[in-house]
Symmetry: C2
Subunit: 471 residues, 2 copies
Amino acid sequence: MLTLDNRLKEPLYLQVYRQIKEMICQGDLGQDYKLPSTRMLARTLSVGRNTVETAYLQLCSEGYVESKTGSGFYVNKLENLSNNPKSIPAISTSKSQLIEKDHRYNFQYGKLNNNDFPYKLWRKCINSILATPEAALMTAYNDKQGEIDLRFEIMKYLNQSRGVTCVPAQIVICAGTQQCLMLLSQLFREFSLEIAFEEPAYDGAREVFVNSGYNILPIQVKNDGLNLRQLETSKAKIAYLTPSHQFPSGALMPITKRHKLVNWAIQNNGIIIEDDYDSELRYNFRPVPAIQSLDKTGQVIYIGTFSKTLAPALRLSYLVLPLPWLAVFKHKFSNYNNSVPWLEQKALAQFMQNGQWERHLRKFSLIQKRKHDKMLETLHLLFGNRVRIHGANAGLHILLEFVDKDEATLINQADAQGIKVYPVSKYWFSPKNYENNMILLGYSSLTEQEIVDGLTLLKSAWFNEETRGRT
Amino acid sequence: MLTLDNRLKEPLYLQVYRQIKEMICQGDLGQDYKLPSTRMLARTLSVGRNTVETAYLQLCSEGYVESKTGSGFYVNKLENLSNNPKSIPAISTSKSQLIEKDHRYNFQYGKLNNNDFPYKLWRKCINSILATPEAALMTAYNDKQGEIDLRFEIMKYLNQSRGVTCVPAQIVICAGTQQCLMLLSQLFREFSLEIAFEEPAYDGAREVFVNSGYNILPIQVKNDGLNLRQLETSKAKIAYLTPSHQFPSGALMPITKRHKLVNWAIQNNGIIIEDDYDSELRYNFRPVPAIQSLDKTGQVIYIGTFSKTLAPALRLSYLVLPLPWLAVFKHKFSNYNNSVPWLEQKALAQFMQNGQWERHLRKFSLIQKRKHDKMLETLHLLFGNRVRIHGANAGLHILLEFVDKDEATLINQADAQGIKVYPVSKYWFSPKNYENNMILLGYSSLTEQEIVDGLTLLKSAWFNEETRGRT
């Protein structure tokens, strides 16, 4: 039964809500189970009826239970959660996350390993910023484009690491890549409402433009990136790209093609949005310079993020605008306040000024390279030529392509062994462009040993062989 | 001349940039002054040429200097900064801020007083969160609607203080009010592209919808808020309002009119966006319940913020969505990551759970009430019936209306005495609706004594009387 603890910081209704939710998710309370009345449960737990009601309403609004007028609260059928138009699944913790058991190994993309964030240094930076007289700026609306010292540091870093040429005035600090794109979707509204996207592409980027009323023109991705011919014959004047490690396919666009792409932009008065989301992470080969570095006419918008290399929970990304668009930006957004907390911006600026960012990045990349190498080595050893690997040598994920297995089967077979692997289908704009034979594996949250153990189990899951004893 | 200090954390190019900018702003380097060549200055300062070039380019992109090809860098005429199409004034620190001398008294709206932020408690919250095992979530993308404990605390608070009824599932944590509105502008795109705005209204809110392609329908504001008749005869299905302290006029919408407004929404299947931006700050009278609290059919979107009561630099606001729109929200934004840093959300949740928020708010409101009362008392004493005061008894600002003075004159006369007061004109969508005879005074950043001293100087500035000795 429910047990409440007054000494916990967690409010009582949150305790009630959490415990009932867990019971539902674990199947302890089955479909159509009638919850005790709010009056009764309140009396049993010695809490106010409000406490119970709040918990029930939250469960209702997330679709776990249903309120039948005059009769009470009943547990919903969980499998129907997303199909039931009346219920509203929590986008917070998604349905699948809630219902699934914990996995033994989770090849999640985007999550970093807890050991990789420099907690001590970060706390030091925050405390030292809060101790300066400048901390008075906490009580003000600050620089609309972001703190100038952070922009200077990003400029230096981009110039050294990516060949990006800019001044701080061209940089806008944003609360994540999607917020960069929200601003761009407003910036380009009068210019064009059609945008070319790689097919497949990061769905979260595409949806920002869909939700802003843009028409999406999917352009096929080849081994060397975007199909340029197809872009040229499209009506697009704006193209969103991940040229250095195409997401999710992992394709790398070579330098010659980058030049051609810039020429396309010049000839069509077009715009290239270059999302260089994991550019810091290149293993075993030299990085190709950013397209922005080839652009002399101001046609490339560059986007970077600290989510893949420092911490996604910081919500810190940036735009680099070419001068012609900077003028439009300033005109349109002169009244927009910056979205990133001042304290966080200053902490990051200090982290970069102290040389801590450089050291962190060197160490972090090395750790990721080791994981990447271990992943590849183990895949070759265990799977041989039964799978094709896409997107190696960079970033934090790879794709596995299969000859005779479909995505859903692969995910289910892995799940049965307690391994979580991820679908690729959602990255396609048109499902017909996808052969439905791939899965995505992220490795940044796992240790090297976990990667080996997880892949070993996957082999047994997919190819039905007992290999656990042998590795 | 320039002096650089290697021991400072500030990068060298930033030191060069800042010092030249200051010299230009202070008039030490006049129009058409030719800056030393990058080679020469680099040699003089014993720094790399890159350092100087970066500083010059930044000054260029902000419009302080101009590069004449082959000839060098020249100081621009500052007054022309915003008229010169080639120059790009920094939106960061706006032109006026840069050129103006420091004011003796600044009646800025939005800035709080440094003494009002609980620095120590905030640092404690952050450090204690970073010390918990839960801090591992720094390396993850977290709850898309915001941290559940923060949403619970906001729910409790809203219910107690504003009569707002909701569950945490209806709350979305956002990075400032404008980010709330960015999401809403995407949410309502298929529903209607016309939106009624109070006239005058917060320009930063209106611009989000303008930039999203909405058609703005300005609705006159009367002493009791929005002109309901005008709203009814407009084509609007969406209305953005600040009913509890209309910005900037300060009008308060009474309860009966709130009921009528809800009826308008019901009859027209309309949406009310209720921006309750400073609802915590009510002096000398009981607050009127939020419109959201009267809404039984799910037609009110409620927006709140921590900018006016805790710190604008936190960039923390929230949406409360009615259930029907929550479903659409979840559908459209299922892939949108939350924009507010995890650490900040958790710190605020802890601050609220500990009862510190309640204590802070009680103290903060009392301080603001004292300032407000001092402001009103002094105004009555010094200005008698030569000005009309709008928007008293709430918030952090008032408007002064004059019989025979126009806005520009008022601002210039104040400026001549070293006092900064603010224009109201920009809040009107159609300039013809404004009689051009008001100014805005914010008082939250000043002390009570500064308020008295500033107003005394203002009297002498506006009515040309020497009153300084007399108060």
